[in-house]
């Protein structure tokens, strides 16, 4: 077992990080760096949610944007049509996403690896095409989130990004803690067993469809929460921004770069990819030049080929 001494560097690191993150907006007072951190948190949330079903349980979902869009659209439509508080809308969206995941999971989980992955792509595309053609939900034009008075209750702030920062930090922290608990509990072991060998898992008493569904439901819940947060932050959503295949791919990418099946991987991945994306966009040419995506693509190939365990894998090797 670990001796108390060897735990000190870890605790110090965590403490330093916590202090840094808590005081970040006080140190970096301009909106731009705060926006970057908020985006890092957003992608960390998405990647960590995906990590639960894709990294731990090994079910490669390439259509996770559907849950993101579900969260974003549900809370927005409830706000637009009935003035429902975005927080309640967030819960409604997350609950709906969980239900959606059960419906999707039930037939899909019977499919083997590649079939499952492509099925998730197909479902994602069906969702996007449907929303584009549903005028009641805004269609291709999208929806503007109604401008409300700036307040925590309304989950809207217009003069400063700082509250958004802390809300994002809070949600991310909760999600990471939940993931940590899962990893240490029987759920984490069962998810990893499912990823490891299905027959062996069954022979050890694991009900495979049940646990796959649990993993996906938890994942969908938090992905949808991120969707509502995004809607309230950007104040505009459309199928192109919350449901595209590219977003689903990016989510996986962040998780893989950081290291699948680890608690810190998604944060590491987001912390590298988001600034990288901003940097290439700002310094290497205008939008559509896609240099950041080129780098992403090359990164994934390199990671898959040489270091499938991602950055966390590399870090563990140096310990």
């Amino acid at each position: 077992m670990d001796s108390p001494k060897s735990n000190w560097p870890k605790f110090l690191l965590y403490a330093a990080m916590a202090v840094f993150l808590l005081f970040f907006p006080a140190i970096f007072t301009l909106p731009f760096p705060q926006h970057i951190m908020i985006m890092i948190f957003l992608y960390a949330m998405l990647a960590q949610s995906w990590n639960i079903i894709g990294g731990y349980a090994g079910q490669i979902s390439l259509g996770h944007a559907v849950y993101f869009g579900c969260g974003a659209y549900t809370s927005t439509l409830l706000l637009v049509k009935w003035g429902l508080s975005p927080w309640l809308g967030m819960l409604a969206g997350a609950g709906l996403a969980m239900g959606l995941s059960l419906i999707i999971g039930y037939p899909c989980f019977r499919l083997a690896g590649h079939y499952f992955a492509i099925a998730t792509i197909a479902i994602g595309e069906i969702a996007q095409i449907s929303m584009v053609n549903w005028k009641g939900g805004g269609g291709a034009v999208g929806l503007y989130i109604p401008l409300l008075d700036e307040s925590f209750v309304n989950l809207e702030f217009h003069t400063t990004k700082v509250p958004y920062y802390y809300i994002a930090l809070g949600i991310t922290a909760i999600l990471f803690f939940v993931t940590y608990l899962i990893e240490k509990s029987w759920l984490g072991f069962y998810f990893r067993a499912i990823k490891g060998d299905l027959d062996a898992a069954r022979a050890l008493g694991i009900n495979i469809p049940k646990y796959k569904s649990i993993a996906l439901a938890i994942s969908a819940f938090f992905t949808a929460v991120a969707g509502t947060f995004y809607a309230q932050y950007v104040l505009f959503i459309d199928p192109e921004s919350v449901l595209p295949l590219m977003l689903s791919i990016l989510i996986c990418l962040v998780a893989i770069l950081g290291g699948v099946g680890t608690v810190w991987g998604p944060f590491l991945g987001a912390a590298i990819l988001v600034p990288l994306s901003e940097f290439t966009r700002t310094y290497l040419g205008g939008g559509g030049r896609a240099i950041d995506l080129m780098i992403y693509g090359a990164l994934i190939v390199l990671i898959a080929r040489f270091q499938p365990e991602g950055l966390m894998g590399m870090i563990k090797k140096f310990r």
């Binding site: 037939p107 492509i118 693509g297 090359a298 994934i300």
Partner: protein, 301 residues
């Protein structure tokens, strides 16, 4: 039979000619899908690795054709052998530089190796050539054939015919030549094949080369009448996956027939429901097939 309003509105506009026209367009396009699917199936059946960059390979062939035409004045017709060879080489290179190293690694790594390659190629195309839509203005193969009130675009017809020829050639190759039989043997049982003296590396590289050449041929042929842009690969790739799943993984004739079938479904879906929904029908078809019959219509698993 009471049809939903969106369908009812459209059926009133249908004449036999329109339906026939749609069926023929779908059939012709389906032949192109079919060749793309066959290329994917070959790789998939050979080593159970999905080439998620398959669509981007096709896109590369299309851009090659475009630049040969625009910069050197070479008509797509003459680019055909070049496209086949270029993609053959790209396929082999992909095998040796990327695939060989991930053959025995985790499933996740395998998916993402080709996935990453696809993302890279797609964004590279966007970076080098912008996202603008290009087209070849005056190809040699142009014009229409008229049969009564039905028009068949000559490029579409030529593409379909060439794809069918390509498939027949491939089928002959797989079943009647030594290399082809070696490919089949290796896909059935890698170890047994190597005991028979079949060098698995060379065979796999060959499989990648031929599979990519198929999609290269399809791409060159498409350039005659389809828009050329970095994202063009995505849709074709997705359709190819659906076709391979539909036809049963590992069955080359199955994939071909499924590809043609999907061409029809796509065309009819666009006609009877809404043009916006033509791909929608394809995705729904995929889900229907894998949910009801996971091994596909002709599959081995």
């Amino acid at each position: 039979m009471i049809l939903p309003p969106v369908i009812q509105k459209r059926t009133s506009m249908f004449t036999t000619e329109i339906i026939l026209q749609t069926l023929i367009s779908g059939l012709l396009m389906g032949c192109v899908y079919a060749l793309v699917a066959v290329g994917l199936c070959l790789i998939w059946g050979l080593m159970e690795i999905v080439n998620f960059a398959h669509g981007q390979f096709m896109m590369l062939a299309m851009f090659m054709t475009f630049w040969m035409y625009t910069l050197l004045g070479v008509d797509p017709l003459f680019s055909l052998p070049l496209g086949a060879v270029l993609l053959f080489l790209i396929g082999i290179a992909t095998y040796f530089f990327i695939i060989k190293g991930i053959l025995y690694t985790t499933f996740l790594a395998q998916i993402f190796a080709t996935f990453g390659l696809g993302v890279f190629l797609h964004s590279m195309a966007q970076f080098l050539w912008t996202a603008n839509y290009r087209s070849i203005q005056n190809p040699l193969i142009a014009g229409r054939i008229a049969a009564g009130k039905i028009f068949i675009g000559f490029p579409h017809l030529a593409a379909a015919v060439m794809c069918v020829i390509g498939f027949i050639f491939l089928y002959w190759f797989i079943n009647k030549t030594e290399i082809g039989l070696a490919l089949q043997a290796a896909s059935e049982d890698r170890e047994a094949a190597s005991l028979m003296g079949i060098n698995s590396n060379r065979i796999f590289a060959m499989g990648w080369g031929i599979g990519s050449a198929c999609v290269g041929v399809a791409g060159v042929l498409l350039s005659n009448f389809f828009y050329i842009f970095p994202e063009v690969g995505f849709t074709f790739a997705l359709i190819a996956y659906v076709a391979v799943a539909l036809g049963g993984f590992g069955s080359i004739p199955g994939s071909f027939i499924a590809g043609v079938f999907i061409g029809l479904v796509e065309a009819l879906g666009g006609l009877f429901i809404d043009p916006a929904f033509k791909y929608f029908s394809v995705y729904v078809l995929y889900l229907a097939v894998v949910f009801i019959r996971p091994q596909g219509l002709w599959g081995r698993y």
